[in-house]
Amino acid sequence: MNKRVIETKKLDCEVLVVGGGAAACMAAISAKEQGADVLLVDKGQMGKSGCSPNAHGGMALYHKDPRDGWRVHTEDTLMSGGFLNDQELVRIMTQESRRFVALLERFGCLFDRDEDGTYSVRRFGGHAYARSVFSGDETGHEMMIGLKKEMLRLGVSYMDETMATRIITADGRAVGAACLHIPTGELYYIRAGAVILATACAAGIWPSASERQRGDGFSLALQAGAELVDMEFTQYHPTHAWWPFGVRGSVSEGFRSEGGYLLNSEGERFMERYDPEKKELATRDKVSVCIYKEIRAGRGAAHGGIYASVAHLPSKYVEERLRVIFRKYMSYGYDIRKEPIEVRPRPHYSNGGVKTNTKCQTRIPGLYAAGAVTGGVHGANRLGSNALVDILVFGDIAGREAALEVAAHRKKPPFNESMFGEEVDRISGLMARRPDDPITTPPLRRKHIEMMDKYMGVLRTEEGMRIMQEEVARAKEKDLPRLIVKNQSKVYNYELRDALEMFFRIDVEEMAITAALMRTESRGGHYREDYPVRNDKEWLKNIIFRKKNGELLFELRDVAMPIVKLSDLPEYANSDSPWH
């Protein structure tokens, strides 16, 4: 056994919330309101970490049009999700969500109003009506301000820069977590009556713009024995900034709708070839697929993206109609009126995740999950602005249910010293080991990101995915055991954090590839060139994973349709297009 190079400490709480975004804060607030002793551990800083502050869009929760209502919203969500959604969860989301806009305003947020004083709403793609409440272009930011202030008002305890590395179980029940405190390098055993996972999804294992979503929660849940669902579905945004270097974030749909062209290296407007009618304005998924086909055919731009240009439009028009994008690029000294930019589809959301019931419980008693880490609500593809609603509604439910469960039990769970000891040894071993042929995290990570993009990206084929599957198996056997942490510092050792994330990544990759190989059709965020159409006869099924004695098990389950039947939406049912 390795010498224990890390210090350990113990903490106690009733409800432990893992994560620091909106779902986690909402869960912590709602558990605290029930009187529970709550502790929130956050990999970044509370209110600043995760992806919630970056959410620009809106919250689809205000059915303002008299023709609109929860059922229409449910139907929209299901059609986008390829009917793989858990309909009960969608019903809860669309029925319970409206209260949250008022709740957030009591926390200190304010959302945009119309002249008559009612909430202003936006319509997002795929929604039948305008129903998204927003705050300018900074809805997520405004939301986090309120949640953060409410956390402070209620006096919820939180630990910043603390990363959960293992859910601790005893007798099949979640009883706490091992958490690495990055500022001191100490490993905490946080004992808790219930644990709520509210970490983000795993878009960051691809070359994503939401790169802080590294799949921690997926792996933690899997290792603890919970079930995960719909892991093959990744959501891509077709036009993320790629070049000039360092410009980040998505280039919004406005760029294309105001007359921007997508060009390949030969200067051809290739979308005319794929979709002569809609051209650049085809649906997001379709544009992503077309861009990738061009790049793979060797007609990509100089730095590996595809050109997007507004140089043919009058300068003044660009300045006025594309004000935000124009200014953003100008601040980097890049003039989009004269030069084309490079864009590239990048993933920003995993549609699948931890399987939960209507009380946010996972298969493991005492382990709850809420927010982007869960799967089922969005099915195969998420509708824009449904994410911020999902995290509020289910964050609230998870916090409340966990607090109620803890209150009903009252008895403190035992310390599982042996399981915690294994985790201490694992991390100490990782720090101390010096194999003959070591490998460090940065090159391994870069290799995997590039391979995931190439073989498990927008365009998937059996052949490509097999290559990736072999690489994952190889990395698991050959690379992870020789992964080293050079930096021996205890204070802010991000290298250790990144190395631990590498283990999470491999778990997530394995599930995503296994599911994607199994699903011989195209649907939502899963497009296979060898099976390009939707196959409702065989594939109205969810692929569900769990781990037993270190072995990855899967199961196919038929989708239940208690609320909306496929036959209720004949136009959708009669098409075989993977996208709605």
């Binding site: 209260r99 200190g108 070049w243």
Partner: protein, 254 residues
């Protein structure tokens, strides 16, 4: 550490930059170190730090969103506070931690007193009776234009602490003046329709009179807000309050 970016095959230039390093486990004092980084057009400071990280230079720094929305990566660049993700890299740059806060390691500073002060100042809508939020709760009374003004003036603040760092009158938590960030936050919550607390008195007690109107906070704000203008408006309100001119002590703040 790195975000996934296009690989740097052909840099446009090689830049020399200097970073103030401090390792609490080894060093007694901070010291400057020089580094060479490849520069590609439109590269920012954050990519230079990430590049060094990949090369095995374990410089501690905070970064999260990389899109100027989280405010994690504020540091002093050429002597001025700025967001690393929002500052184009230049040759000869000097990068050091924010000087307003105690340094923990390299570019990471201890900002834990900020949320504590937010809590002490009760920066949430403070009211005697808060109606529970239900499905049928009407929107709080607020005009369209008022909300737009509120967002453009206050709510865009990402709490990066650049203004605190730039303020010559608030160089530590011991200073009698809390600093521009807190004044902006007080003015922000004052605009909220539910808030009933006497924010003007709080501003007076938090030392608003010490502001010397230098506008440094407005000059450095990455979101182009003007805390200085807000301080002036708030201060003019404190001056009209005779009860605040006499007697009250700082310890009563909150």
């Amino acid at each position: 550490m790195t975000c996934y970016l296009p690989p740097i095959d052909k840099p446009d230039a090689i830049y020399n930059i200097q970073i103030l390093r401090f390792d609490p486990e080894k060093d007694r004092y901070p010291h400057w170190e020089s580094y060479q980084v490849p520069f590609v057009r439109t590269m920012t400071v954050i990519e230079a730090l990430e590049y060094l990280w990949d090369q095995g230079e374990y410089i501690a720094f905070r970064s999260n969103c990389r899109e100027f929305t989280c405010g994690s990566c504020a540091m002093e660049i050429n002597g001025k506070p700025a967001l690393a993700c929002d500052t184009l890299l230049e040759d000869g740059m000097r990068i050091e931690p924010l000087s307003r806060f105690p340094v923990i390691k390299d570019l990471v500073v201890d900002t834990s007193t900020v949320p504590e002060r937010f809590k002490a100042l009760k920066l949430w809508p403070e009211c005697k009776h808060r109606e529970p939020a239900t499905k049928d709760s009407p929107p709080l009374p607020a005009a369209k234009s008022a909300i737009e003004h509120y967002r453009e003036t206050y709510s865009r603040c990402i709490e990066c602490y650049s203004c605190l760092d730039a303020c010559p009158q608030s160089d530590s938590d011991e200073s009698p003046y809390f600093g521009p960030l807190y004044m902006l936050q007080l003015a922000r919550v004052m605009e909220h329709p539910l808030d009933e607390k006497d924010r003007v008195a709080q501003a007076a007690e938090a030392g608003i009179s010490h502001c010397i109107n230098c506008y440094e906070c407005a000059n450095v704000c990455p979101m182009n807000l003007s805390p200085a203008t807000i301080v002036n408006e708030l201060r003019s309100k404190t001056i009209r309050r005779l009860d605040l001119l006499f007697g009250r002590r700082r310890k009563e703040v909150g």
